[in-house]
């Protein structure tokens, strides 16, 4: 059942992105930035967590979850250290996505040749 909801919710978030591409004529960079900010704002109001419980990977795989986990890391650390924790804890939860992108980007650059 959770697979179906992951499919539907993830698909709908992609449709929002597609509408921003086609109807509002935004570049992919603008679209993705907006979605990340949207994810962060949603988590600020505590709305993203219920979505993850409901849709699983449908909410964690789209880029909106990046904003969500940034806020999450910052808030978790802020509870311990106050305002300073906002800066120190920022990447605590998100590190996997960015480290994976950097590491595999480097590996890709070493092993693959540019095409076309």
């Amino acid at each position: 059942m959770v697979f179906l909801w992951a499919f539907i919710v993830g698909g709908l978030i992609c449709v929002i992105g597609q509408i921003m591409f086609d109807v509002f004529k935004l570049t992919p960079g603008h679209t993705l930035s907006t979605l990340v900010v949207a994810g962060a704002v949603l988590d600020g109001f505590g709305l993203y967590e219920p979505l993850i419980d409901f849709a699983g990977a449908g909410a964690t795989v789209p880029i909106t979850s990046f904003g969500n986990s940034l806020v999450h890391g910052a808030m978790a650390e802020a509870e311990k250290h106050g305002v300073i924790g906002v800066v120190t804890g920022m990447f605590e939860v998100t590190s996997s996505g960015i480290s994976a992108a950097i590491i595999f980007g480097m590996i890709g650059a070493i092993f693959f040749k540019p095409k076309g």
Partner: protein, 159 residues
Amino acid sequence: MSNKKKKNLTPTQQQYQDFANKREVKRPVFKNCIKAFLVGGTICAIGQGISTFYMYFFDFTEQTVGNPTVATLIFITMLLTGFGVYDRMAQFAGAGTAVPVTGFGNAVISAAIEHRTEGFVLGVGGNMFKLAGSVILFGVFSAFIIALVKTILIEWGGL
């Protein structure tokens, strides 16, 4: 094009703008949305499969399983990007491949591969976050503002 910009153009240029707008191919919005829905949904369903695998065989909880899932998806993206499959998928699916985290991975990895001819330090290192940098910048900055406001409200507002 905004009206302010239009005023600075000569009449001939304005005519050309109107002409170009009329001839511009209408984007098949509905069809594109269906494609984005199907492909994006499939990527998320695959992600759910990976999540289930990690929850079943390693002790991750539903809240923490997102991290290894994202890393695995980016690894798969590296292979697809390296073999040139991802570009073809992206042409078909539009936002369906751009919005999931695989699109973020693709932006980093394709920039890294593309610029390796300029050397590893200036080429790969300097250009890796050329496209994905904006996502990180706005994500981090908005998260900073939100977390700051929330923390201040909690500490001094007794929220």
